[in-house]
């Protein structure tokens, strides 16, 4: 048993941030809706940078609209931009949901988004008739860029969707809501796979798995406008108030779950993300609690395959190796716990956020570690680099933005999470659930093989 040394960045400036600003998270949330469109109320960079970032990570199109604020809006407000933006988008794209997402500009200008949206709705009714207009939901999402990070933006996005769209409860739908957090398509599919084996229907709030990983099949591709396959339907979000419970996989993404609990008595469970054995066990217990479903052998056999891999690989190749983990707080904490389960030491866990859920998760993890854990909060990649120059580790686990740091430090980088743009297919391979944890142990072990056994290759002969 060991302790967590919590340390904050000791600089004013951020150098190579591990986070971005709120709007990105809200765009991510809205992108998971079937025919859902994010409309960023801000400058063009606010949509373009994010589209660019999504596209290079997923290698997929990412359709995000913007109200194109300019100097005139800075002076006179963005009312005209938002109202005409909504109108144009609604009429030309016929979406199910428009998520109107604020930015630093629109928040500073002080635009009354809710008021503007009402007007836009009225105008829309005039233009296309009440019935059609009613079908297009417009949800305001407040995501001031200068408050917290994109994780909060995601949380705000999901919360706004649930608060604006969930209907008054009717009969139970016997489903469980899942709020995935900013995870990958493969992760969401793995969660659905587990629920499928348990015979539980889920409502994913929201489901980017198909929209951000969709087949190339021109014969079935929806065009004019292009919409990717899949995503959570509006009806599902409306129905989320009738579910047996809500599980938010990531500690930072619980607001929607808590809203459903408070407003509609849908019980909530928030985090930890099911990475590794104990966290996935915990996830299953939550599913069981909400649905009163026994854990089937098929799931326990998948668990047994993970256990088998850990028995075969961990003590021999991984035990005692020091790891630095960085990036997403939920994923980092989950991986930190998993590496403890592997007998490794999460010497440094570094994230750009300061939220208390993360700190408390990391304290729990530290207790399970054999050696002290340095928990860097509100931190950045440069701080991590300086730290690792002084106290090297044998492996870094995090996203692609750490690649040049890992290269400089000559520490191998196991890529996980978002963004990973310098490798192929990572968005498709889950790291959650028992199967995802097997993938993770393989990725970690193979990195050790590649880096540390190259010269003593005979040690791998058996």
């Amino acid at each position: 048993m060991s302790c967590a040394n919590v340390m904050k960045r000791d600089r004013t400036a951020v150098i190579n941030p591990l986070v971005t600003c709120q709007p990105m998270g809200a765009m991510y949330a809205v992108a998971g809706i079937r025919r859902g469109l994010p409309l960023v109320h801000g400058s063009q960079g606010c949509s373009t940078f994010v589209r660019y970032s999504f596209s290079r990570h997923f290698r997929e199109p990412s359709e995000i609209a913007v109200t194109s604020l300019h100097e005139d809006a800075a002076v006179f407000g963005g009312r005209k931009n938002l109202i005409s933006g909504i109108g144009n988008l609604a009429v030309r794209f016929k979406p199910s949901v428009i998520g109107a997402i604020s930015t630093c500009s629109s928040e500073i200008i002080g635009d009354d988004m809710e008021g503007f949206i009402k007007i836009a709705k009225e105008e829309l009714k005039q233009k296309i008739g009440e019935e059609k207009a009613e079908k297009i939901k417009i949800v305001p999402i407040s995501t001031p860029s200068f408050v917290e990070t994109h994780f909060k933006g995601y949380d705000n996005g999901i919360n706004a969707l649930v608060n604006n769209l969930a209907q008054d409860p009717e009969d139970s739908n016997e489903k469980v809501n899942i709020i995935p957090g900013i995870v990958n398509p493969g992760d969401i599919r793995e969660i659905k796979h587990i629920m499928g084996l348990m015979g539980i229907d889920g409502i994913i709030l929201t489901d980017i798995s198909d929209p951000f990983d969709s087949p190339l099949r021109p014969s079935t591709t929806e065009t004019r406008p292009f919409y990717p396959k899949g995503g959570t339907t509006l009806e599902e979000i409306e129905d989320s108030s009738n579910s047996l419970g809500t599980i938010a996989l990531c500690g930072y993404a619980g607001s929607g779950a808590l809203s459903l609990e408070k407003k509609y008595e849908v019980p909530a469970a928030v985090g930890p993300i099911p990475i590794g054995v104990k966290n996935t066990d915990n996830f299953l217990r939550n599913l069981k609690k909400f649905t009163d479903t026994e854990i089937p052998d098929s799931v326990l056999d998948e668990r047994g395959l993970l256990i088998d891999s850990m028995a075969d690989l961990a003590s021999r190749y991984l035990f005692g190796r020091k790891v630095a983990i960085f990036g997403d707080p939920a994923i980092s904490a989950g991986i930190a716990r998993f590496v403890c389960e592997l007998g490794m030491i999460p010497s440094v866990v570094c994230t750009g956020v300061e939220n208390p859920e993360f700190v408390s998760e990391m304290k729990k993890v530290a207790k399970e570690s054999d050696e002290p854990v340095d928990v860097m909060i509100g931190s950045d990649l440069r701080a991590l680099e300086v730290k690792l120059e002084e106290e090297p580790v044998e492996m870094m686990i995090g996203h692609s933005d750490g690649r040049l740091f890992a290269k400089h430090l000559d520490i191998p980088l196991v890529r996980v999470g978002y963004p990973v743009y310098d490798r192929a297919g990572y968005h498709r391979v889950p790291i959650v659930g028992y199967n995802g944890s097997v993938n993770l142990i393989d990725r970690i072990t193979n990195t050790v093989f590649d880096k540390y056994y190259a010269d003593e290759h005979w040690k791998l002969q058996q």
Binding site: A13, V14, I15, S47, T48, A65, S68, N88, F146, F226
Partner: protein, 500 residues
């Protein structure tokens, strides 16, 4: 009827003026409406002014650290994602101690709510001081306004001026908040003027020659600059300063000492060439090195200026001979294929002619994110009859252009690439390239190779599952017969027969 309204634009008829179909009979003035604000709610491909200055102009400088005065997002997005490689060498013979320093680090003031309320000047000051401490080897510090700081009105120039003195290094503020101007082009403009006003003429080069040039508007995307540099060296011309590919801060300071300026990207950097000509009487010529023909012509034009035609001719002849066989191969493969160029600006007029001239490809559509009138004039000149010219196309128009003009390939950016793929059309990245450099003689081969590989990617013949096919086994057996070499290269005939 040179202007056309796309079907998808019937609800936003103002788009009609942005869409022009080239008609040889038209007067020259007829071009798409451009450099105006995007219709709100469009899926525009445009970025913001901050992207224009940091992403395009200053991000290529190798020995400065950038402090973005913003909430965390702009800093994150501002981190070296353009493909601007740099060498570590500085004009004074030193080396930067960090590999690709310009791509690795970015700093930001990480503004919070209280800063928005009370102002961010203190944080900016502190951050710049930290920048100087964290990276003591940098030559200068550049700092950037963003939407937030533009709106709260921080006086960045004052901070920059004060700290320049305190630190003893240039601290330069760039005032191009994201909302300024209709496109990133505004950022180019601000970048040019700021660098000229603050730097040009403030330092002297270690040495000069009679053959010194400024290579302006060349950012070394994927190594483009290094291709040109090699040519110029061989011809006997010395690049005194680049603006700004693989350049050092000091090079910009002594641009006034060149004998001639060349302007490569004429959208983003003619401004500074004009300013230098005006103030220092240094003439400039606009150059184009895309495609062997333009490359040869323009090298020759520059060489002529210095009386070095013979060297240039030698180089051109040799390089042309070297690439010709491959060029012939690609031409055979690509003749008659149609394309759509969707670039930031100038590649719309750089590319159609060489692709026609050397590869026989037909440009059926061109479009830009941020071109101005002068650029569209050039574009119009260089495309063929019937080519559609679109200013700032949005996603729906993109789908319609594909449907109507059916290009065999699209040259565009990453935001467009994957939707093109979903519609079954190959796409080559033209802002940052697939496997560049694309400039110069060998660069054009790279472009041709990428176009060839994309169009001939076997996947396009397998897009859909076929329920039935002709008996594959039988067919192939028949067809194969004639193709199999009768004897393997390394195997005696007897042995092979034994196996067949």
């Amino acid at each position: 009827m040179p202007y056309e309204l796309f079907e998808v634009d019937k609800e936003i008829p103002e788009r009609k003026n942005h869409t022009y179909v080239k008609d040889l009979a038209d007067p020259t003035g007829e071009i798409p409406k451009c450099n105006t604000k995007t219709v709100p709610g469009c899926m525009t491909e445009r970025g913001c002014a901050f992207a224009g200055v940091k992403g395009v102009i200053t991000g290529a400088v190798k020995d400065v650290v950038h402090v973005v005065h913003s909430p965390v997002g702009c800093t994150t997005y501002g981190c070296g994602s353009k493909r601007y490689p740099t060498s570590p060498d500085l004009p004074n013979g030193d080396k930067i101690p960090v590999d690709q320093f310009n791509l690795k680090y970015i700093m930001g003031t990480d503004l919070k709510e209280s800063d928005v309320v009370f102002g961010g000047m203190k944080k900016l000051r502190q951050s710049i001081l930290e920048a100087a401490k964290e990276f003591p080897f940098v030559t200068a510090i550049y700092t950037y306004a963003t939407c937030t700081t533009g709106l709260i009105g921080d006086d960045m120039d004052a901070v920059a001026k004060e700290l320049s003195e305190e630190i003893g290094k240039d601290v330069i503020a760039f005032n191009a908040p994201g909302f300024s101007g209709p496109t990133q082009s505004k950022g180019h403009h601000v970048g040019n003027f700021t660098l000229f006003n603050k730097l040009v003429g403030t330092k002297e080069p270690p040495e000069t020659t009679p053959y010194d040039i400024n290579l302006i508007g060349e950012y070394n995307i994927d190594g483009d600059l290094w291709v040109l540099q090699k040519y110029f060296e061989e011809i006997g011309i010395n690049i005194l300063s680049t603006f700004t590919g693989d350049c050092s801060h000091d090079e910009i300071c002594w641009m006034h000492r060149a004998k001639l300026s060349l302007v490569r990207c004429q959208r983003s950097a003619t401004y500074i060439a004009d300013l230098i000509e005006e103030k220092y009487n240094i003439p400039y010529i606009k150059v184009d090195f895309f495609g062997p023909k333009y490359c040869a012509e323009n090298l020759m034009a520059v060489a002529k200026h210095f009386g070095l035609e013979e060297n240039a001719q030698k180089l051109i002849d040799r390089e042309m001979a070297k690439i010709q066989p491959k060029l012939d191969f690609y031409r055979e493969k690509l003749e008659g294929k149609t394309l759509w160029v969707f670039s930031g600006g100038p590649k719309n007029w750089h590319l159609p002619e060489p692709l026609k001239e050397h590869l026989g490809m037909e440009t059926v559509a061109v479009s830009t994110m941020f071109e101005h009138e002068d650029g569209y004039e050039k574009i119009k000149e260089r495309v063929g009859e019937g080519t559609v010219i679109v200013d700032d196309p949005n996603s729906l128009e993109l789908e319609e252009i594909i449907d109507v003009y059916k290009p065999d390939i699209i040259l565009s950016g990453i935001k467009e690439k994957y939707i093109a793929h979903k519609l079954g059309v190959p796409c080559v990245l033209i802002h940052s390239y697939e496997n560049g450099p694309y400039m110069g003689f060998e660069g054009f081969l790279n472009l041709a190779q990428d176009i060839y590989a994309s169009i001939y990617n076997p996947v396009w013949n397998m897009l859909e599952f076929e329920e039935t096919i002709e008996d594959e086994e039988e067919t192939s057996k028949e067809e194969v017969k004639g193709k199999i070499s009768e004897t393997g290269t390394n195997v005696p005939k007897a042995k092979e027969e034994e196996v067949l």
